[in-house]
């Protein structure tokens, strides 16, 4: 029982500051960082992805999820440490990603609709 309580206590102790240290991101600053730190290079200016990087527009990841991934990514992407980009800056980038439009359905794009029907 004692051990269980200690764990619960630790969880509470870490959860509270995490919440308080995650203010809303600044999308305008996020856009600057997206360009400055080269996110667009692999993921595209529209976050659409391509051969060099995955789509990052309109993905179901919260700011903490994005930070966790950027610190320890999978595949060929290098880790970007907090020395390169801070948690707050990544939160701003996340806020910018939220402003990126979702794709239209291919059936609503005549050229792609024609390819789909082929």
């Amino acid at each position: 029982m004692k051990r269980l309580l200690l764990l619960a206590s630790f969880a509470a102790a870490t959860l509270i500051p995490t919440m308080s240290q995650t203010p809303a991101g600044d999308a305008a600053n996020g856009k600057k960082l997206f360009l400055r730190d080269g996110c667009y290079q692999c993921h595209g200016y529209a976050g659409q992805g391509g051969a060099a990087g995955a789509r990052i527009a309109a993905i179901g990841l919260n700011a903490q999820g994005l930070i966790r991934y950027v610190r320890a990514p999978g595949g060929a992407m290098p880790a970007f440490t907090d020395k390169v980009i801070t948690d707050q800056e990544l939160t701003d980038v996340w806020a910018y990603l939220q402003t990126m439009p979702k794709a239209k359905a291919p059936k609503d794009i005549p050229l792609l609709n024609a390819l789909e029907k082929k």
């Binding site: 390169v84 794009i109 050229l111 792609l112």
Partner: protein
């Protein structure tokens, strides 16, 4: 290749060294090396890169991992094995294969197909047909996924490479066309959206990310296509063109009909991504990766450059809605026997 693949109902992965297999075929791209019991490499110069994955692990190192099943058999038929000399004159990594046949794959195929057909019993044939049906489903899903992905960034400026490929395909699909450039730097979008089904539809890749090869190779291929009346399409990387821009004059001087569409991402972009990668791993300087790699300040006006060499041109085009009409106008020029260029400001990849 079609006969062999259909005989075995085996998926085909094209390494794009040349035009090998129709992209709309249900066995195209429907399999992966990791799940195969037998991997047959036909004229694959770097088989090691087929049987291994590589993951960067630090600033300069790569972790290599064999991705074939432990009991998979790897067989190669490769004419290059006939030309080996000393160790110092051979290139690439040697792969550990179960059977390396030093022979010309194209010349070997008829015999191989015949032998395979002899060995296939009626029971086996039924099993192969079932496998083929599953692979056709995979191929269909791949196609749907590609089209869905192409929709992302459709209206973006700079123009997405998927949009550029789709706009081009819309204009050339009813023509006798030939792509005289590589697919690597445009996320393989033509390979994913166009129907390649003739040997001359694709001239093959540059090999080893070579820069500077693209423009001269495209002009040469377009010259070869001229007597056949084909529309040669060159998706021209901006960095590549700056190595030998004089080939624009060559195309204009010799009246070589070809449609040049600039993939103008305003950078030596492969290098830019590499420097960015290294900077991130070194934990410093990611914001300076553009130095020596970006081609901006000033932006190069490729349409004016083409005009200077005597070529019809339009651009720079950064509104994707302007692209289709511009391509149409340029194709009219090409059909008259002249080269033309459309400068498109594009997404990086």
């Amino acid at each position: 290749m079609i006969q062999l693949a259909e005989t075995l109902q085996a998926p085909v992965l094209d390494r794009h060294f040349r035009m090998n297999f129709p992209t709309a075929h249900p066995l195209y791209g429907a399999g992966n090396v990791g799940s195969a019991d037998v991997v047959l490499g036909l004229e694959v110069p770097d088989m090691w890169f087929v049987t291994h994955s590589q993951t960067p692990i630090n600033r300069m190192g790569m972790q290599a991992k064999r991705i074939t099943k432990t009991d998979a058999k790897v067989i190669t038929i490769f004419a290059g094995d006939l030309f080996g000399k000393s160790n110092y004159q051979d290139f690439g990594r040697y792969d550990e294969v179960d059977l390396a046949i030093a022979a010309d794959a194209q010349a070997t195929l008829p015999l191989l197909i015949e032998e395979c057909r002899k060995l296939i019993t009626s029971d086996r044939k039924a099993a192969l047909q079932q496998r083929g049906a599953k692979l056709a489903e995979v191929s269909k899903r791949n196609r749907e996924r590609d089209i869905e992905q192409a929709a992302w960034g459709w209206d973006a400026s700079p123009v997405s490479t998927a949009r550029m490929a789709a706009e081009l395909w819309n204009q050339i699909k009813t023509e006798d066309w030939s792509l005289v450039s590589d697919l690597t730097f445009v996320s393989n979008w033509p390979g994913r959206l166009w129907d390649f089904d003739k040997p001359y539809h694709f001239i093959g890749g540059h090999g080893a990310y070579g820069v500077g090869y693209g423009a001269p190779a495209a002009v040469g291929a377009a010259l070869a296509n001229k007597k056949h009346g084909r529309i040669s399409v060159n998706i021209q990387c901006d960095g590549d063109l700056n190595y030998a821009p004089g080939v624009l004059w060559t195309a204009a001087h010799h009246r070589i009909p070809m449609l040049n569409v600039m993939h103008n991402n305003r950078a030596y972009h492969q290098e830019l991504m590499y420097v960015e990668d290294m900077a991130a791993r070194a934990r410093r300087g990611v914001e300076r990766a553009w130095i020596g790699t970006a081609i901006t300040d000033p932006n190069i006006d490729y349409a004016t450059m083409a005009k200077a060499y005597g070529m019809f041109s339009e651009g720079p085009i950064d509104n994707p809605n302007d692209l289709g009409p511009a391509i149409k106008r340029a194709i009219e020029v090409v059909k008259k026997g002249e080269p033309a260029m459309i400068d498109v400001v594009t997404q990086p990849r």
